[in-house]
């Protein structure tokens, strides 16, 4: 019975997805948009319910699964993302030719996988949950099957995703082969008691796992898929990739490296620092010439993976908490951006940045929402992204007090902030500084307006009153024995 308690959220979301499929098969509801709103509402209730679940210290299922504060933090994040993405999907549904309800259901199955990743405490469950997320996303990315870009996105994601899954499982095999365990707690204990540096086969395994997880968070060297897939996939799926899938990748990365591999942090922290720097530069420099907003956000999401890797590379309590805080606020910020993009593109049918010209006049609310989210991504106070970046850079500077080389990473981080401001302001310039050719107002539905208000309020409130989210993320980060 206790075990069911641990996985109740996963069960809830998966069951609701199956119910949707069955109802649609036997007694279809003609208004697909309404179904989407209902699904989103249900998930929102589940999100509220999740605050009643208490964390448990002991692992479940023979050490496979954890329901600690860290897991709950991520589960809430995924439920939030799912609710908003379902809202977007409902808004987007007229553009889907067939299988709208299946689209919702697939999103929910994908979210089930994400909910599992939050609790992973064993390489076996890691692989299973990762595959559940990735396989549903292959289908979702190519859902607009008569549109070539969407098919291209799905295929690219499939091929690179399969390759990186191969890397992951190969790495797990090496780690299991050299240590004889797949459980993170046992692995940490073993590595702790081991004298001398770990063997080459073990290090190779760690490298392969890092590469496989790097695909999920779109870090160098497995980041090239992101811009193409972000551009081609249906916009709600892009949002889910940016918010949910990336957070799932970071949840796994933190679990593997901070729970399982922490005793050998000397082996990997330098490498992650280098990857963080390279990812920051690739994402932010690559975004400069872009003129398609989804592609721009693809590069931007690579850049943000770089910022968060800075926190991972710092290997201190501040860094772990900073990554969690950043993911939390990043969800609101990105969801706000994608909500606004969906609302605009339903009217203009174009993702090109010039088609956002004069948005401030065509629809003041959409203009403000998109502008604020761009500024939050750029890290401008009083918006939430600002504090996230301060925490991450602070974590690196704290680490630099003992290891001077980390100042180089901090320098790359601040250079990236300046570069990123340039292209985010490029979107801002279109919204406010340029005149539209077509000045007809853009209308938005009530649920959409509600979603936008929630995200905007969250960006501003978290940006000014940082304390609740900071406390929650620092609390969640305490599950790792970091100083």
């Amino acid at each position: 019975m206790m075990s069911l308690y641990a996985i109740q959220l996963e069960c809830l979301v998966a069951t609701w997805g199956i119910v949707l499929l069955l109802v649609d098969a036997f007694a279809p509801i003609p208004n697909k948009r309404l179904v989407g709103y209902l699904a989103a509402g249900f998930v929102a209730v589940a999100l509220l319910y999740s605050f009643a679940i208490q964390p448990v210290n002991e692992p479940f299922f023979h050490g496979l699964y954890r329901l600690d504060p860290f897991a709950l933090y991520f589960k809430r994040l995924f439920l939030l993302a799912l609710a908003m993405v379902l809202l977007m999907a409902a808004e987007f549904s007229p553009r889907i030719e067939s299988g709208v309800v299946e689209f919702y259901a697939l999103l929910m199955f994908c979210a089930t996988g994400m909910l599992l990743t939050a609790s992973v405490n064993d390489f076996i469950l890691l692989f299973v949950s990762l595959e559940l997320v990735t396989i549903t996303l292959y289908v979702l990315a190519s859902y607009l099957r008569r549109q070539q870009p969407s098919l291209e996105a799905g295929t690219k994601y499939l091929i690179l995703g399969a390759l990186s899954s191969g890397f992951t499982i190969y790495g797990i095999a090496y780690i299991f082969g050299t240590t004889g365990t797949t459980n993170f707690d046992k692995l940490a204990g073993l590595l702790h008691s081991q004298a001398g540096p770990p063997g080459a086969a073990f290090v190779l395994g760690v490298l392969l796992v890092l590469t496989g997880l790097g695909f999920k968070i779109s870090s160098v060297p497995v980041q090239v898929w992101a811009p193409d897939v972000y551009q081609g996939a249906p916009t709600p799926v892009t949002a889910f990739l940016a918010v949910g899938s990336k957070a799932a990748g970071f949840a796994l990365l933190l679990r593997v490296f901070y729970a399982g591999l922490l005793p050998v942090s000397g082996v990997w922290n330098g490498l992650i620092a280098v990857l963080a720097g390279a990812t920051l530069l690739y994402g932010n420099l690559g975004a400069i010439p872009q003129h398609n907003i989804k592609r721009l956000l693809g590069y931007s999401s690579i850049g943000h993976a770089g910022y968060m890797l800075m926190g991972v590379a710092a290997v201190n309590a501040l860094g772990a908490g900073a990554v969690l805080f950043y993911l939390g606020q990043y969800a609101f910020t990105n969801l706000c951006a994608f909500l606004a993009i969906i609302a605009v593109t339903s009217a203009t049918r174009s993702d090109e940045i010039p088609s956002f010209s004069g948005l401030g006049k065509r629809s003041p609310i959409l203009g403000v929402a998109l502008f604020l989210s761009m500024m939050s991504l750029a890290g401008i106070p009083p918006l939430s992204g600002f504090f996230g970046k301060v925490l991450l850079i602070a974590a690196v500077v704290q680490r630099a007090q003992t290891d001077r080389l980390y100042y180089v990473l901090a320098a790359i981080g601040i250079a990236a902030v300046v570069i990123s401001l340039y292209f985010y302001l490029g979107v801002g310039r279109a919204i406010y500084l340029q005149e539209a050719e077509d000045t007809s107002p853009i209308l938005i539905s009530k649920p959409m307006r509600f979603g936008l208000y929630v995200c905007m309020a969250a960006m501003i409130v978290i940006g000014i009153f940082q304390r609740p989210l900071v406390d929650a993320s620092m609390m969640a980060a305490k599950v790792f024995s970091l100083r």
């Binding site: 602070a394 500077v397 704290q398 401001l421 801002g428």
Partner: protein, 517 residues
């Protein structure tokens, strides 16, 4: 009582949030609320100035709200003589800026929201006593500026070949680059010093020599970007030229001063050894500011570019005052920030007044304007005299203090720097007087016969207010110098004159690196 300061700082921001929810159809009410917020904020600041204890150099009206206790961060406001002076400056300029914004007839709601947010960003920087909020407010001022220039600005085509979009992007990127550079220095101070409280850092913590040496250039150049330090000044004249009048006033008047304030408030007292090490370099850069920008101003034909380069040049005197590291020099720098802020704001307001009617501010095209707009002409002549450092204006007193402080240092570098700086006064007088003669005197061009002067009291008030403040301090400098010198003596010079050995002798002052960890 103590909460009054917090109210004065946050009131414009609160008004901005209220405006956010306001219907855009009612521009008159929106403008009235903005005037009310900045006006009340100025009144409170004046009240606090009246109640200010002139014998104490420490922080007064301290009010603190715990914010992030786990990091020791609190929303703490308090002023000493230095920040009180600058807060007064913000009060005057933001109030006059809202008053003269009558020319804005497009998207008023957004305009006033941004203007008010900018005001709180700047006054918050001056009034906060917490390192995190210092950076928070400092950064907050950047984006309103971007939009103010981009949406309501204007940049007549010229030899520079730039658009206002280019100007505003350049400004934003430069300011952000400076801010993030300063951030790294501030974080290093936090991790070594173990606290975010500026007062504690100033009085009871002595950072290790290594930290001081490396953090000082981060702060100096980081804040230097915003204070238009040569060679990082190129964004500044272009930005002023493209900005709408009130934004130019805020920018030249106060926003730029936050950079110099950052150096005075944080870099000097927290990193005194670093300051001693880098002082000569700063003095040399200050001379480049004064002379290079002065000569650049000579060749300008656009009024706003003339004042833009002149303001870069004047920041050179502020830098020189800071570099002296002595009581007279640093106090002079603070007073000069006040005086120059008022003068620059006044000049930009006056340019805005005639530009609004002529749509031309190209000096050779203007002639004899004083015949049609005598009030504006008189004010302009006064502003130019203040700028050239004539006795009777606050600028004279402060520049004299900077020269005295700099000469006192005695080393060759500072002797040469002083001579350069005094020569800079001649340069300033040349281009300022030339510009005012060419455009306000001489025969009246037919084109400008339709100009209307400021006649009603309401129109004249903002200019008169700025001028009155400038003259009051000019004739009675002790009004401000007393409190400035008190604070400079207690919080800055006392730290600069103590060596590391003396600090190490008292164990309480030594702070071991790593307390934050």
């Amino acid at each position: 009582m103590d909460i009054l300061l917090t109210i004065a700082v946050l009131l414009p921001l609160i008004a901005a949030f209220v405006l956010f929810l306001f219907p855009a159809r009612k521009p008159k009410a929106i403008r009235a609320l903005a005037i009310f917020a900045t006006g009340v904020s100025l009144l409170i600041t004046l009240t606090l100035f009246g109640k200010f204890d002139r014998t104490s150099g420490g922080y007064q009206f301290v009010h603190s709200i715990p914010w992030l206790p786990s990091y020791g961060c609190s929303l703490k406001f308090g002023v000493d003589g230095i920040s009180m002076t600058l807060l007064l400056l913000v009060g005057f300029i933001s109030f006059c800026g809202t008053l003269i914004s009558t020319e804005i007839h497009d998207r008023e709601k957004e305009y006033y929201i941004l203007f008010l947010a900018l005001t709180t960003g700047i006054s918050g920087t001056f009034a906060t006593m917490d390192l995190f909020f210092f950076y928070f407010f400092y950064e907050m001022a950047v984006i309103p500026m971007y939009l103010l220039i981009g949406m309501w600005g204007s940049l007549p085509p010229g030899k520079h070949g730039r658009t206002k979009e280019y100007a505003t992007m350049k400004l934003t990127l430069y300011l952000t680059a400076g801010a993030v550079l300063a951030l790294v220095g501030l974080l290093a101070i936090y991790f070594v010093g173990g606290t975010l409280d500026i007062e504690r850092l100033q009085h009871s913590i002595w950072l290790s020599r290594n930290t001081q040496m490396t953090a000082f250039p981060c702060l100096l150049f980081g804040f230097g970007f915003l204070a238009s330090m040569w060679p990082f000044h190129t964004w500044s004249p272009l930005g002023y030229a493209a900005a709408p009048t009130a934004a130019s006033m805020m920018h030249a008047g106060v926003l730029k001063k936050t950079g110099a304030y950052g150096i005075i408030r944080l870099a000097l007292p927290l990193l005194p050894e670093g300051a001693r090490h880098w002082a000569n370099l700063l003095a040399v850069l200050a001379c480049f500011n004064i002379l290079y920008a002065g000569w650049a101003a000579m060749t300008q034909k656009d009024w706003k570019f003339v004042i833009g380069y002149s303001s870069v040049s004047h920041m050179g005197y502020v830098f020189l005052g800071i570099a002296t590291l002595n009581l007279v020099g640093v106090s002079g720098a603070v007073l000069l920030m006040f005086a120059h802020g008022l003068m620059a704001a006044l000049t930009f307001a006056l340019i805005g007044f005639f530009y609004h009617q002529t749509h031309n501010r190209y000096v050779p095209d203007l002639s004899g304007l004083a015949r049609k707009i005598p009030f504006i002409g008189v004010c302009m002549v006064m502003a130019v005299m203040a700028s050239s450092g004539l006795p009777g204006f606050a600028n004279f007193v402060s520049e004299l203090m900077v020269f005295l402080g700099s000469w006192q240092r005695g080393s060759v570098v500072f002797r040469v720097a002083t001579i350069c700086a005094v020569w800079g006064i001649v340069v300033t007088a040349t281009y300022m007087l030339r510009a005012v003669r060419a455009s306000f005197f001489g025969p009246l061009d037919e084109k400008w016969s339709m100009l209307k002067d400021a006649v009603t009291l309401r129109q004249k008030f903002p200019y008169a207010l700025l001028l009155a403040a400038l003259l009051t301090v000019g004739f009675w400098p002790r009004l401000l110098t007393d409190i400035i010198q008190q604070s400079v003596a207690t919080s800055i010079v006392s730290r600069l004159s103590t060596g590391a050995e003396a600090q190490a002798a008292s164990p309480a002052m030594v702070h071991d690196a790593g307390a934050a960890r």
